[in-house]
C-alpha cells in the first residue's frame, strides 16, 4: 500500500513539475490590466515647476513602454503648463440677418474666460440692434447673441476676456531614437488622447491622459517603434511652436 501511495506521489509530482518546465504557459493578454512603473520624484518636480511658472512647457520628454503586446493597455499623463495670463480679445464680425431672425450664433477665436458671459461686451454699428449675450457653449466656443434687428446687416464688435486653448495630437516622428523605427501607419488609431483641446486658466498645469491600446488581433511587425504626441498653443501667429514627447514602444 505504501509503495502504491509513494508511487502515486512521485507520478503526481513529476506531472505537475512537467507542466511548468516541459510545456511553458503562454501568457494570455489581459487588456484591462496593465501594471505601470513610475519613477518620478515628486519633490524634484515641485522645484523645477516652480522655477518654470512663467514658461509654457510639457513633461515628460520621453515615455518608454516595455513588453507591450496587442490587446494590452498602456497609459501615461502628459503634464502641460500654460504660462499665459488672461487676455482681452477684440473680434469684429460682419453679420446679416434674415426675416424674423433676431438671435445669431457667433464663433469665438479663443475660449471665453471661465465661460463667463458677463466678461463679454457686444456692440453694433446698426442702431436698430439692441444686442445682449444670451449664452456661451464651451465645446465649440460659440456665443449666442440676441437683439438683432431682422433683415439688416451690420458690423459687430465683441470684446471678451480669454483663456488659452492648447491642441494635443498624435504626431508622426521626424526622427527616432537609435534602435527604433517610425510607428506603423495605423498607429494613429491606437493612440487615445482623452482631451485634445484643453482650455487652461492663467498659469495652470494640467495632466492629459494618453492611452496606447492596440487591438488584440493586430500583427505589429516592428519590435521597437516610436510615435510622438504634440502640444501646441492655439491662436499663435504665422510662426508657431509645438513641443513633442517621444513615446518609445518595445513589443514583447
Amino acid at each position: 500500500m505504501k509503495r502504491i501511495i509513494l508511487s502515486g506521489l512521485v507520478v503526481v509530482s513529476l506531472l505537475l513539475a512537467g507542466c511548468v518546465s516541459a510545456s511553458p504557459i503562454i501568457p494570455v493578454p489581459t487588456p484591462t490590466k496593465t501594471e505601470t512603473t513610475k519613477t518620478i520624484e515628486p519633490s524634484a518636480i515641485v522645484d523645477v515647476e516652480t522655477k518654470m511658472m512663467n514658461d509654457t512647457w510639457i513633461s515628460p520628454a520621453k515615455i518608454e513602454i516595455g513588453n507591450y503586446y496587442p490587446g494590452a493597455r498602456a497609459e501615461w499623463y502628459i503634464r502641460v503648463h500654460n504660462s499665459n495670463d488672461e487676455t482681452t480679445q477684440i473680434e469684429k464680425k460682419s453679420v446679416g440677418t434674415f426675416e424674423n431672425e433676431t438671435v445669431v450664433d457667433i464663433s469665438l477665436k479663443f475660449p471665453l474666460a471661465d465661460n463667463d458671459i458677463t466678461k463679454v461686451t457686444v456692440a453694433s454699428d446698426n442702431n436698430k440692434d439692441s444686442l445682449a449675450v444670451a449664452s456661451y457653449t464651451p465645446f465649440d466656443k460659440v456665443l449666442k447673441i440676441s437683439g438683432f434687428a431682422p433683415s439688416e446687416s451690420r458690423i459687430i464688435s465683441i470684446v471678451y476676456k480669454a483663456w488659452t486653448e492648447f491642441k494635443i495630437s498624435y504626431r508622426i516622428p521626424d526622427s527616432t531614437i537609435k534602435g527604433y523605427v517610425k510607428a506603423p501607419s495605423q498607429a494613429q488609431d491606437w493612440v487615445i488622447i482623452t482631451d485634445s483641446t484643453p482650455v487652461f486658466r492663467p498659469k495652470e498645469t494640467k495632466e492629459i491622459l494618453v492611452v496606447l491600446q492596440i487591438p488584440e488581433d493586430t500583427n505589429v511587425v516592428d519590435k521597437q517603434w516610436e510615435f510622438w504626441t504634440s502640444v501646441s498653443e492655439g491662436g499663435q501667429g504665422t510662426v508657431q511652436t509645438e513641443m513633442c514627447t517621444r513615446w518609445l514602444v518595445k513589443m514583447r
Binding site: 519613477t39 518636480i45 512647457w57 521626424d174
Partner: protein
C-alpha cells in the same frame, strides 16, 4: 493502537501529497503572473519649454524671382528645457489667399521658404544667413535646423522667401511655419 498508527501514517502521506502539490504550484506561479506584470511604462522628470519671438514676419511687396529675407538672427527661440533638444521646422499651413500660390521651388505662382541658424549644430543648419534648410509642407517631414541644443542655449534663426518666377494674380499670401522641439535623438 495499530489503528491509530495506520491513521497517522495516512495523514503523513496526505501531508506529503499536499506539500508536493503546493511546491509544484509555486513553481508554476511566476509563469501565470507574467500575464499581468509584463507591460511597463516608465518616464523620468524632464521638461521641454520653448517660445519664439517675434511670432510673425511680413515680407511686404515682392517682385518675381527675388529672394526676400528677414535679415540675420531675426527670430529668437527662448529655450528653458531641462534636456537637450532638436528643433525642426515645417510649413504647417500652405499658401492661402483669395487665390493661392503653390508651395514649392520657385515657378509661376509657386514659392517656398528657407531658414538658417547660427545654432545648427552637427546635423542642422550650416550657419547664420546661409538659408540652407528648405522647408517642406506637412508634419512628419520637418527639417532639422538646430541639432542637439543644450539647455543653456536660446537659438536665433532667420527666414527667406524664394518668390515665384511670375505672377498671374496679386492676391496677398500667407503661410504658417511651425517649429518642433523634441528630446535630442
Amino acid at each position: 493502537m495499530r489503528k491509530m498508527k495506520k491513521q497517522i501514517g495516512g495523514f503523513r502521506y496526505l501531508a506529503i501529497l499536499v506539500i508536493v502539490i503546493a511546491l509544484a504550484l509555486s513553481w508554476a506561479t511566476p509563469a501565470f503572473g507574467a500575464t499581468t506584470q509584463d507591460v511597463t511604462v516608465t518616464a523620468t522628470p524632464s521638461y521641454i519649454a520653448i517660445s519664439n519671438a517675434p511670432n510673425s514676419w511680413a515680407a511686404g511687396v515682392i517682385t518675381a524671382s527675388t529672394d526676400v529675407s528677414t535679415g540675420n538672427n531675426y527670430f529668437t527661440i527662448t529655450n528653458t528645457s531641462t534636456v537637450n533638444i532638436d528643433i525642426s521646422f515645417y510649413v504647417s499651413a500652405n499658401w492661402s489667399g483669395t487665390s493661392s500660390w503653390t508651395y514649392g521651388a520657385p515657378a509661376a505662382d509657386t514659392g517656398q521658404l528657407k531658414v538658417s541658424s547660427a545654432n545648427g549644430g552637427v546635423g542642422g543648419s550650416s550657419g547664420v544667413g546661409n538659408y540652407d534648410k528648405t522647408l517642406v509642407y506637412g508634419a512628419g517631414a520637418a527639417v532639422l535646423v538646430c541639432d542637439n541644443v543644450s539647455t543653456a542655449t536660446s537659438p536665433k534663426w532667420e527666414m527667406q522667401l524664394d518668390a515665384p518666377t511670375s505672377f498671374t494674380h496679386g492676391a496677398a499670401q500667407s503661410a504658417n511655419v511651425t517649429m518642433t522641439a523634441v528630446l535630442q535623438s
